[in-house]
């Protein structure tokens, strides 16, 4: 059969089933999303929804001052956008830094290296909902942390009921959960750096700091770029951990953009599918830019 229909045409026999699955589960919803984004009303069926053009877009961007969500018509969208921006900046920045430090330490010949590698990677194996629940038990009123503080005579703190603290813990938990994964990638990058370069540097009596800044970091830069872009994409998509840990609260202090879309479209009445669809298109555009950056970073990394 392979010979009869030719090598290239043979692939077409296997493609249709996958195309059908992807078509129904991926491309059709994307097309529907575009359709819903230009419609209004509360009806679920697309045929019953009035066409409103870019009204959802205008509604989302209706602000007097774009730096002050309180002046926006859809202020929760902007709050969620700002929260996501702050979250991504802090989470990615600190996570990449901690991942790098951990990878540098774990790359050295230290005692129990395998054990520590396992310890740092362990949270990655946990389901995000499970780890958020664990942290919720730790941080809630009369939780483990408060009991610990009380045992030393301290005053319990309402960690998840204060806007500042809850944002801090959302970032912290996310860093704790994902650092292991990026450490692993950076560790692989570190181990790929040829040892003879270090040997040459040692012969030139280079200091450890000089070796780090002149050999390790420049060699690691392409991998680092991939790590940063991957972490950015993952950070923008964050939802499950925050939803379980704080529910986006207190108020809207930790609500990420994905939760806004979910609540606008599905969880809270009125279910504004059109608005949620347009917000998700904006998110998709952002993710597309980040993905293009990642592809570019990958290419840079491949070329060395």
């Amino acid at each position: 059969m392979h010979r009869r229909i030719g090598r290239n045409r043979f692939a077409w026999i296997f493609l249709p089933p996958n195309l059908v699955i992807f078509g129904i589960l991926t491309y059709l919803p994307i097309a529907l999303n575009f359709g819903y984004a230009t419609t209004g009303g509360l009806a679920v069926l697309a045929t019953e929804r009035p066409f409103v053009g870019f009204e959802n877009f205008a509604s989302l961007l209706d602000c007097r001052d774009y730096l002050d969500p309180s002046t926006c018509s859809k202020d929760l969208f902007w709050r969620a956008l700002f929260n996501t921006g702050r979250f991504v900046l802090l989470q990615v920045g600190f996570m990449v830094l901690f991942s790098l430090i951990t990878a540098l330490v774990l790359d050295r010949e230290i005692k129990g290296r395998g054990f520590f590698r396992g310890v740092f990677f362990y949270p990655v194996l946990l389901n995000p909902v499970v780890l958020a629940l664990i942290w919720k038990w730790i941080l809630q009123r009369e939780g483990v942390l408060d009991a610990f503080i009380a045992a030393f005579g301290g005053e319990p703190i309402l960690w998840l009921m204060d806007a500042g603290w809850s944002f801090f813990w959302v970032v912290f938990v996310s860093i704790w959960a994902h650092t292991g994964f990026y450490t692993l990638i950076l560790l692989a990058g570190l181990q790929a750096i040829p040892k003879d370069v270090y040997e040459a540097a040692e012969m030139d009596t280079a200091s450890p700091w000089r070796k780090l800044t002149r050999i390790t970091l420049p060699s690691l830069m392409p991998i680092m770029l991939v790590v940063i872009v991957l972490a950015l994409i993952k950070g923008v998509q964050t939802f499950d951990e925050i939803h379980v840990l704080t529910g986006g609260g207190p108020g809207s202090a930790t609500m990420p953009i994905v939760q806004y879309i979910y609540e606008t479209g599905f969880a809270v009445q009125p279910r504004l599918f059109g608005l949620a669809a347009f917000a998700s298109l904006l998110l998709a555009a952002l993710l597309m830019v980040l993905t293009l950056l990642q592809l570019r970073a990958n290419r840079t990394s491949y070329r060395g």
Binding site: G53, F54, E55, F57, A58, S59, L61, D62, C63, R64, D65, Y66, L67, D68, S70, T71, S73, K74, D75, L76, F77, R79, Q140, R141, L158, L160, M161, D162, A163, T246, G247, G248, G249, P250, G251, S252, A253, T254, M255, Q259, Y260, E263, T264, A267, V268, Q269, P270
Partner: protein, 346 residues
């Protein structure tokens, strides 16, 4: 089966007795309850003087008691008025000063529901505002741990109203046997049958006559029986606005917006950047008569958008370029009622 539910307060009587504080009377105001429960909580080292479920539904009754009308004269929703604002300002202040259990509201995001029933069962709340459906649960869970009772809804200047809810038995209009269906409905609506049904299922009667006569609730324990009888007596105090709110098909939109915005107010997320003041449009309330200028401005919108209020002063470039996408985004000015969307329901 037909039944009523009604929102109102439960009180931990044992804590009042321990604190030697007199229970406020049936016509006591929210302020009097706040004062009394604060004293009790302080004397008995109880964590929360008061708690109210995190939902706009629960605060609707108290808001109506403070004069909130919920609807304009023409029947369109007008959630934010002076009465509504007065009650919400009190709630926010009480949550901030610890009179009301802040945890219940700020431990959740969005419009997620959260009750404080477990806190009441654990004896950590002096006064808990929830509803008649909690009666069975409290009877079972509290047992002999402490004495509790139903005190209904505290009063405001306008009423002492809770929010009603109900379940009803209905027949389809297209039924093939309308006579038989009517007979079934009549049977269940008849006084002796309905009385027996609500007594056995421990519910509040949806029948004025039965509620007025009172029920024995033989299957309920002493506390449960007393509570159910108290709920039935409170039905007469439900304000007409509360029934109108219950019957409005999109009332959840108002409830959800209330939950989200009140929580934001509690955590201070509605303050304007820089001056610590709520933005103008929030303070004024759309369609309150102060927006005539904006509405007039919007009258210049292209036809599909004409008549809509709230033209944004800052326009996004694609919108102002073409003139087609004039940034008028809120409800129709012609139908907007006072304060109907003083905050967007994002």
């Amino acid at each position: 089966m037909p039944q009523l539910t009604i929102t109102g307060g439960f009180v931990n009587r044992t804590l009042f007795e321990q604190a030697k504080v007199e229970l406020p009377g049936p016509q006591a105001s929210w302020d009097e309850w706040a004062e009394a429960t604060r004293k009790v909580a302080e004397a008995t080292q109880t964590r929360f003087p008061m708690a109210i479920d995190r939902t706009g539904h629960r605060v609707a009754g108290p808001a109506i008691s403070y004069g909130a009308e919920i609807f304009a004269a023409d029947g369109t929703p007008a959630l934010v008025d002076d009465g509504f604002k007065t009650l919400m300002a009190k709630l926010v202040a009480w949550m901030k000063d610890g009179t009301m259990a802040r945890d219940v509201w700020v431990s959740q995001g969005g419009a997620a529901y959260q009750d404080a029933a477990q806190e009441f069962i654990n004896g950590r709340v002096v006064y808990y505002y929830s509803g008649s459906w909690q009666t069975g649960r409290f009877e079972k869970a509290i047992g002999d741990a402490f004495d509790w009772e139903v005190v209904g809804s505290p009063c405001g200047p306008a009423a002492c109203s809770g929010m009603p809810g109900d379940a009803a038995l209905v027949a389809f209009t297209r039924t093939a046997a309308p006579q038989a269906a009517a007979k079934v409905l009549d049977f269940f609506a008849s006084e002796p049958v309905h009385a027996q049904l609500v007594e056995r299922t421990k519910k509040v009667p949806a029948h004025k006559g039965i509620a007025a006569k009172g029920l024995a609730y033989q299957d309920a324990g002493p506390a449960g029986c007393k509570a159910l009888q108290a709920w039935a007596r409170r039905v007469a105090e439900i304000a007409p606005a509360a029934y109108a709110c219950r019957d409005y098909p999109l009332n959840r939109v108002m409830f959800n917006a209330t939950t989200t915005r009140v929580t934001q107010a509690i955590v201070g997320a509605l303050l304007r950047r820089g001056d610590g003041q709520a933005p103008d449009r929030h303070r004024r309330g759309r369609g309150s008569g102060q927006e005539v200028g904006e509405a007039a401005e919007c009258a210049r919108c292209p036809r599909p958008y004409r008549g809509r209020v709230s033209c944004a002063r800052t326009t996004f470039w694609p919108i102002s370029w073409t003139g087609r996408w004039w940034p008028c985004t809120a409800a129709s000015a012609g139908t907007a009622s006072p304060g109907s969307s003083s905050r967007p329901t994002s």
